[in-house]
């Protein structure tokens, strides 16, 4: 969306990601999504009198992992606080969170917005906190219902610096962050199900201004697309306000994806005063440096490292390497396919990358499918590339085979065999086809010999047609040249 060039957009993002622990953060209830209402609760998470929270060890480990993955400082000493507010889905009347001393500070991540060069976005902090429950309103007559299953789900709140300057950068940040969390296997990153939620702080200022403008906080953004649309809408709205000589009000705004607009959420009267204070039920959290080092040593390969490896060891372009490491699923798809090609003795990572990023992603996008839903398995993709590399099929035939594979699944070797698509490299067989074509087109032969050598393409085409594409085009070419020349 074109933005008024006199203004600069400033965006900071707060992401809440649910961690994939087995049990909840402070009690032994299962941490699962989609169970029947209130069946995953106990006195602790439901905020009953007299019960106490006990920290889940795995949550801390996941927080440390995430902190290390974004190059953050892991604080050896951190503190839990209570954030006090009343809401029906917050059963204790406070949220256990971290305030002054979060577990991670001073991180960063690098984004690759489409068509732009790599950019650093600072991560101010990551802290651990507990998720709230849900209130249900729709279709309930004269009441709302409270479901507390989600209360106690471990959350990491990841707060960025206000370093992004466009909705595209915000989108790229979210994609990169989500990829990192998925590579770490700490969060499934599903925005629709709410396991990866984003609030956006947006402001505008005149280019060159030092001070930030008044920001608004956008909520209810349940897809990356919506985050970007809501930011664009908000930027326009704020510029309009300023252009009209009014001032932007600091407020929380709720995005309405159906109407492509937002509305103010809370009245000023209810301005929050969270009365944070140290959680008396939990002693401070201390983490041994050796434990941090241990986790660091066992970190999996992360998207940026993997992209670098793809470039350094496989000679892929920065762009291809970026696309292929955009998600864990994508990367593992590519690596499996590439492995098959390599094992077949036809090592060619560039060709594999090309087939995955161009042919496969093109078809997937057209069909609205994710890589993990691909009808063509990574192994079969690799076999197809290997067939091309070995000269068993031509690139053109390969596209045809790929079409069969995409529509009906299946092993490319099988398809080639069944449909008789194997490239003909037997020179005598091709020889006779060439002779026949030359005999059938005396006029063209004359022209060629008369100096119109570009007619050769026509003759090659005729031979290919006659062999239904299976003849090795290089062989056809040289045979024709020999005979004509």
């Amino acid at each position: 969306m074109p933005i008024d060039p006199h203004y600069e957009t400033v965006i900071g993002l707060e992401v809440h990601s649910q961690l994939r622990t087995k049990s909840k953060i402070f009690c032994g209830c299962p941490n699962i999504f989609g169970a029947e209402a209130n069946t995953q609760i106990c006195p602790v998470c439901a905020g009953f009198p007299g019960v106490l929270p006990v920290m889940n060890r795995e949550m801390v480990n996941m927080a440390i992992k995430t902190g290390l993955a974004i190059n953050g400082t892991i604080n050896n000493f951190s503190v839990f606080s209570r954030k006090n507010y009343f809401y029906p889905d917050s059963p204790t009347g406070y949220q256990i969170s971290q305030y002054d001393l979060p577990i991670v500070e001073h991180g960063e991540l690098f984004i690759n917005p489409e068509g732009q060069s790599k950019k650093r976005v600072g991560v101010t902090r990551i802290h651990m906190e507990v998720d709230a429950g849900k209130s249900l309103h729709e279709g309930i007559v004269g009441a709302s219902w409270v479901d507390l299953n989600r209360v106690g789900t471990p959350l990491l709140e990841i707060v960025s610096e206000p370093d992004m300057r466009s909705s595209e950068e915000a989108g790229a940040y979210l994609k990169k962050l989500r990829a990192i969390l998925r590579f770490l296997e700490v969060c499934d990153g599903n925005m629709e199900e709410g396991s990866f939620r984003c609030d956006a702080n947006v402001s505008v200022r005149h280019y060159g201004a030092e001070e930030f403008g008044t920001r608004t906080e956008l909520k209810n953004l349940n897809s990356i697309r919506n985050v970007m649309r809501a930011i664009d809408y908000e930027v326009e709205r704020q510029i309009d306000i300023i252009e009209n000589g009014d001032t932007v009000v600091q407020e929380t705004r709720l995005w309405d994806a159906n109407n492509n607009s937002s509305r103010s959420m809370r009245s000023k009267e209810d301005a929050h005063d969270y009365r944070y204070f140290p959680e008396p039920d939990l002693p401070p959290l201390t983490i041994e440096q050796s434990h941090i080092d241990d986790i660091r040593a066992r970190l999996p390969e992360l998207p940026d490292d993997m992209a670098k490896r793809f470039q350094d060891e496989m000679g892929l372009s920065e762009y291809d390497a970026g696309v292929l490491t955009a998600s864990k699923e994508m990367a593992s798809y590519f690596e499996i396919a590439n492995q098959v090609v390599t094992v077949a003795g036809k090592k060619n990572a560039k060709a594999t990358a090309n087939w995955v990023t161009v042919e496969l992603l093109g078809r997937l996008n057209k069909n609205g499918l994710e890589i993990e839903e691909s009808p063509v398995s990574a192994t079969n993709m690799g076999k197809l590339v290997a067939l091309i590399q070995s000269g068993d099929i031509s690139g053109k035939i390969a596209k045809q085979v790929f079409g069969f594979m995409f529509d009906d699944g299946g092993d490319p070797e099988q398809i080639v065999k069944e449909k008789g698509l194997k490239q003909v490299t037997d020179s005598s067989a091709i020889n006779s086809e060439v002779d026949q074509v030359l005999a059938a087109h005396p006029e063209q032969v004359e022209q060629y010999r008369g100096g119109k050598t570009q007619i050769l393409g026509f003759l090659v085409g005729k031979v290919m047609q006659a062999t239904r594409g299976k003849a090795n085009p290089a062989m056809v070419n040289s045979l024709l040249k020999d005979k004509l020349g």
């Binding site: 049990s23 032994g28 209402a37 009953f48 029906p88 009441a143 219902w145 959290l285 201390t286």
Partner: protein
């Protein structure tokens, strides 16, 4: 720091306590008295003193990430003043 009727109303709102208008003055008086007692703390220099939030210095213990609870919905809902179809029931919430 002096307590006014507005302070009392603000605090009552934060604490979600319905304080009838005729009780506000009483709170102003009592809270002022108690806070007067607390202002005594100001006479004590505390520069450089580390705040103490827990009675005993200890490290946070942690539990293993295992599921130990099973469905307790009916037991817990039985304590509630109003329930419906497996949920806690409250007046319609309008955001």
């Amino acid at each position: 720091m002096s307590i006014t009727a507005d302070t009392v109303k603000h605090v009552a709102n934060l604490a979600r306590l319905d304080i009838p208008a005729d009780e506000v003055e009483g709170y102003v008086e009592q809270l002022s008295q108690i806070l007067g007692l607390m202002d005594q703390l100001n006479s004590l220099p505390t520069d450089g003193v580390e705040p103490m939030s827990h009675a005993v210095e200890m490290l946070m213990p942690a539990r293993e990430d295992v599921v130990v609870n099973s469905d307790a919905r009916d037991l817990l809902l039985a304590c509630a003043p109003d329930t419906e179809d497996g949920h806690f029931r409250v007046p319609k919430i309008i955001e």
